[in-house]
């Protein structure tokens, strides 16, 4: 542990600290950011109403759209002379979201990135190859500052130029790799072409993130590289990489809760959900000065794990590997359904990725869900009753998983429309006007 005092703080003490920090945060935001003041006044909440961390739910949410509306500096809470760095997240639609950091913000972020590296066992003795992009994107500089904070040697490679990455990895005896999981696989592929045996290198851990990945990918990476592949989470609005990181247990990502307070809410109603229930991840950045962040909706779907304390000793709660985005969510008869859940069921039944299409419609006042599944050779049986049993099994497991009854229709291969090679997953025929 990089900072045992903070990372293994007894929970009661941690909640007290979070409460104090929340009060300060709300005062700063209310006092210096007109946007927050207006939002809180709209909701009828005053800074003095917030006494402990339990009062958090009284505060309004903010979204990426709010952020964009304040472009470029409307969210800043300090005079410009106190800002020492500006990052911006790539805006796929229109303007980017802009985040300014004070010297303390950079310091706290570096601390959390250092904790993330230490989660994999990294110390001042290590060499950290940072193969995330350096630039407006927070990945590269975030991990770079984290490595330096840890006292390790940061190797600022940025992304790309894979052959050179591999040459230096080998010649410099790199021990920690930071990049996207898909880039880790690319490194392995190129190394094989170059005749470099990565399994002989002293690599020990990797902090992989910035894109969704799976347990299967982790297994694959660990077969090709002699390291523990750990999931790292972060987003520029909150800070950057280092908001949460897996420990060596590889069972969920510890949130560094003394800086980032996580909540899980029902994305449809905004109601907070108990630990162990899946919903939208919301963050409050307790210590942020440049751009205070209160109840920011990340649109990422996960849960706070409810399986007791982690054997590693860290007390920060763990979030599960991300399960999807709220953008993909369907609400059927008031129940939140993600296409990824349907896919999970289908994969578990046959071990393959069948093509499917979810069709949502409304008959009278009732939503209906139909799932079309293409019958591949591995699913096909020559006997009617076996195909009917397959259909019923899918029906039961969908019902058990989603709590929604779906009509399962087995269809011929290649009958589900594909756009650009990718199958369309959802067709919502409801007219809700």
């Amino acid at each position: 542990m990089f900072n045992p005092q903070a990372e293994a703080m007894p929970v009661a003490e941690l909640r007290k600290l979070q409460g104090q920090r929340l009060r300060d945060l709300v005062e700063r935001a209310y006092g210096h950011v007109p946007f927050y003041r207006a939002r809180m006044q709209e909701k009828g909440v005053k800074p003095e109403d917030i006494r402990s961390i339990d009062d958090l739910a009284r505060l309004p949410f903010i979204t990426k759209a709010d952020f964009r509306d304040q472009y470029p500096f409307g969210m800043f809470a300090v005079p410009h002379r106190e800002i020492v760095r500006i990052h911006a997240s790539s805006g796929t639609t229109g303007k980017p979201t802009v985040v300014g950091y004070t010297r303390n913000d950079i310091e706290n972020w570096a601390e959390c990135a250092a904790r993330s590296l230490a989660c994999g066992g990294a110390t001042a003795d290590d060499t950290v190859q940072v193969a995330y992009g350096y630039g407006l994107f927070t990945g590269g500089l975030g991990m770079h500052y984290g490595a330096e904070k840890l006292g390790a040697a940061a190797l600022p490679m940025s992304a790309g130029n894979t052959e050179k990455q591999i040459m230096l990895m080998k010649d410099f005896g790199v021990t920690v790799l930071c990049c996207t999981p898909s880039y880790a696989l690319q490194v392995a592929e190129v190394a094989a072409q170059m005749g470099v045996d990565l399994m002989k290198l002293p690599l020990k851990s990797g902090n992989f993130g910035a894109e969704p990945w799976t347990e299967a990918m982790r297994k694959h990476i660990e077969e090709l590289l002699p390291l523990k592949a750990l999931d790292i989470y972060g987003l520029s609005e909150v800070a950057g990489p280092g908001v949460a990181n897996e420990c060596l247990e590889q069972n969920g990502l510890h949130v560094f809760e003394d800086h980032f307070y996580p909540e899980i809410i029902d994305p449809a109603t905004g109601d907070p959900l108990p630990d162990g229930q899946k919903g939208e991840l919301v963050f409050t950045c307790l210590t942020k000065e440049g751009v205070p962040l209160i109840r920011y909706r990340t649109r990422d779907i996960t849960m706070l794990m409810a399986d007791g304390p982690c054997p590693c000793g860290r007390t920060g709660r763990r979030i599960k590997r991300l399960m999807g985005r709220t953008d993909d969510m369907l609400i059927i008869r008031g129940i939140n359904v993600f296409p990824s859940q349907v896919e999970d069921v289908l994969v578990r039944i046959e071990g393959v990725h069948p093509q499917y299409l979810i069709i949502v419609d409304r008959q009278g006042n009732l939503d209906t869900m139909e799932i079309k599944v293409e019958v591949t050779e591995s699913l096909f049986s020559d006997e009617v009753r076996k195909l009917e049993a397959l259909r019923d099994k899918i029906h039961h497991q969908i019902k058990a998983m989603l709590n929604v009854s779906a009509k399962i229709t087995l269809v011929e291969p290649k009958t589900i429309e594909r756009t650009l090679g990718k199958a369309k997953r959802v067709q919502d025929l409801r007219k809700l006007t």
Partner: protein
Amino acid sequence: MKVRQISIFLENRSGRLASVLKEVGRAGVNIRALSLADTSDFGILRLIVDDVDKCVKALKDNGHTVSLTEVLAVEVPDHPGGLAGILDVLSGAGLNVEYMYAFVCRATEKAVVVFRFEDSNAALAALKKAGISILPAETVYTL
């Protein structure tokens, strides 16, 4: 002895059966026997043809889900109770019939029944022992 039967998954939509049969014809394959098992949602088309490999290739090239199944073709004795006698033998041996269908052989004008068994080896042995004539695969393909 065992006959290779082709099974094809079909959606229960109008025109699907005709379209599959057209593809088979276009491939120059002759159909010897045919059966369609269907439910309200889907069907399974079972075919016995003269050129199994060519037929499977043509169907797969057209994107169909296809499987091959081993079945037995039994000539039914030309007297009342002929089929019942065969079924008695099977139930006496404790053999399960998954499904069956019949057709009439053009050359001999005799009824032929195609059986799909859970355990076709055991069925083969039991039928032989009872002196029931099983058509060789080659005979069935060229009926």
